[in-house]
């Protein structure tokens, strides 16, 4: 292992990691928003919108992110929709993540017993009040583990961004391997940086999941 090489190229990886994190976070935030809206459309059986959401979820979940990105970045400009690579990355991640987040929220909503809604209604609450005070708080806490798993999944998926020539961690590693043949060092840095990004989220995820599984409300 050549430590001088590692120190020399550390800043390059830092820049790349920041790009990965930046696009990842914006994409994930958008995924959550998209997922929430889609889950609401499904839960309330909004006509038309519900059918659109179902089609979207099937397409998004049954095609690879890499192909989605190729389509957004290379194909859409041919019909006049050209966007920067970074914007395409965010858009692709949100397109993919939206459906995963929607499923997480939806299964959370469905896991709340119908009697919870009924007893709220029988106390004289309006549907909107029952949703806000009784259904949503429970649904959100039920979906937290799936939600964290999705965040990790989406952060991992950002590794394909180099395919649309974004200078992320993969791009940097491949570049250094190609230029200097420092394979071991380049790969070592790659793994370390992904661990720095992903380990905290993963640890937080298993902590939250354990708390929810073994404890729940009131401990």
């Amino acid at each position: 292992m050549n430590w001088d090489f590692i120190l020399k190229y550390l800043p390059l990886y830092e820049t790349a990691a920041l790009l990965t994190v930046k696009i990842g976070l914006i994409g994930i935030a958008l995924s959550i928003a998209v997922g929430f809206l889609c889950a609401a459309a499904l839960y309330f059986k909004v006509p038309v919108l519900r059918q659109i959401v179902i089609v979207y979820i099937e397409i998004s979940r049954n095609t690879p992110l890499l192909i989605q990105l190729f389509f957004i970045y290379y194909a859409l400009p041919k019909v006049g929709v050209a966007m920067s690579a970074q914007f395409c990355g965010v858009l692709g991640l949100a397109f993919l993540g939206g459906s995963y987040m929607a499923e997480a929220f939806r299964s959370g909503l469905e896991a709340v017993e119908p009697i919870q809604n009924e007893s709220a209604l029988s106390l004289g609450m309006e549907r909107s009040q029952a949703l806000r005070y009784v259904i949503l708080p429970q649904a959100v806490s039920i979906s937290v583990p799936a939600f964290v798993a999705n965040i990790i999944f989406l952060l991992k998926e950002t590794s394909v961004f180099s395919a649309i020539s974004l200078m992320d961690l993969m791009f940097t590693a491949k570049d250094l391997i190609g230029q200097y043949y420092k394979t071991t060092e380049s790969l070592f840095l790659l793994v370390v940086f992904y661990l720095i990004i992903l380990l905290p989220v993963s640890i937080l995820g298993s902590y939250v999941e354990r708390r929810l599984r073994y404890a729940g409300f009131g401990s």
């Binding site: 209604l121 029988s122 609450m125 309006e126 409300f217």
Partner: protein
């Protein structure tokens, strides 16, 4: 005689083509305790759900204090505030502690003063012997304790009518008593109640009138002594026989 509080007229409820309630009519006067009995699946729980408009009905009407209770109507939430309902189980909100469960609707729906509502809630909790559980979460309570909290939660809305849907059916035998005692206490206060139950001795002790439902129809509507001693219909006789055992040896 006290005035009529609840008027159920020709109520019809169908599920997927099957008729569960087939023209149910009865009146409940203020202060009356009605016990509804019948074999499982006879529609007695559905009847309570229809009175509270948790289910759409296919015919007939429900009126409380002269005002109709209609599924999906604009004033339904207001009508439901006057009807307290306690379910078989699982109806406390698991993400809130006992006092928040009780205060949620008085504060958010009736917009009552918090300290006044809280004082009332504590008073009611004391009455059912749970004043030390105010800060506990539902999962820390036994089944009997949960049902007593659910009763308090309903009472705190000042309902004029209370509906109890097999509230002891999911409880261990030793917890049944503590819940039934609370209900006896409420009857003693002159509350108007409709109770669906399988506890026959309790039914006899608490009821002013017993409704026996079979195949979606009211087959008997009589005072408890008449019903339990000399039922008129064969169906009621058969039903009551289930609870009698003879020595096998």
């Amino acid at each position: 005689m006290a005035e009529v509080l609840l008027k159920v007229k020709d109520l019809v409820k169908q599920f997927d083509g099957g008729t569960v309630l087939d023209g149910i009519s009865f009146d409940v006067r203020r202060g009356e305790v009605i016990v509804v009995v019948g074999s499982s699946g006879c529609g007695k729980s559905t009847l309570l759900r229809c009175i509270n408009a948790l289910e759409p009905i296919q015919g007939g009407s429900v009126e409380l204090g002269g005002e109709p209770v209609v599924y999906g109507s604009k004033n339904l939430a207001r009508m439901r505030q006057q009807i307290g309902m306690v379910f078989q189980s699982y109806d406390l909100f698991p993400h809130m502690n006992v006092i928040d469960n009780i205060l949620l609707a008085p504060l958010k729906v009736q917009k009552r003063n918090k300290s006044e509502a809280r004082a009332e809630a504590m008073e009611l909790l004391k009455r059912v012997g749970l004043e030390d559980k105010a800060e506990s979460y539902p999962r820390q309570l036994s089944g009997g304790q949960k049902q007593r909290v659910a009763i308090v939660r309903a009472l705190c809305m000042h309902p004029v009518l209370l509906l109890f849907d097999e509230v002891t059916a999911a409880l261990d035998p030793e917890m049944v008593r503590e819940v039934l005692d609370v209900m006896l206490d409420l009857a003693g206060q002159g509350r108007t109640m409709i109770i669906v139950t399988h506890e026959m001795q309790f039914a006899r002790a608490i009821a002013d009138r017993v409704l026996f439902i079979d195949n979606g129809k009211i087959v008997e509507d009589s005072d408890p002594d008449t019903f339990f001693e000399s039922p008129k219909s064969d169906r009621a006789k058969q039903f009551l026989n289930i609870f009698n055992f003879e020595r096998s040896k």
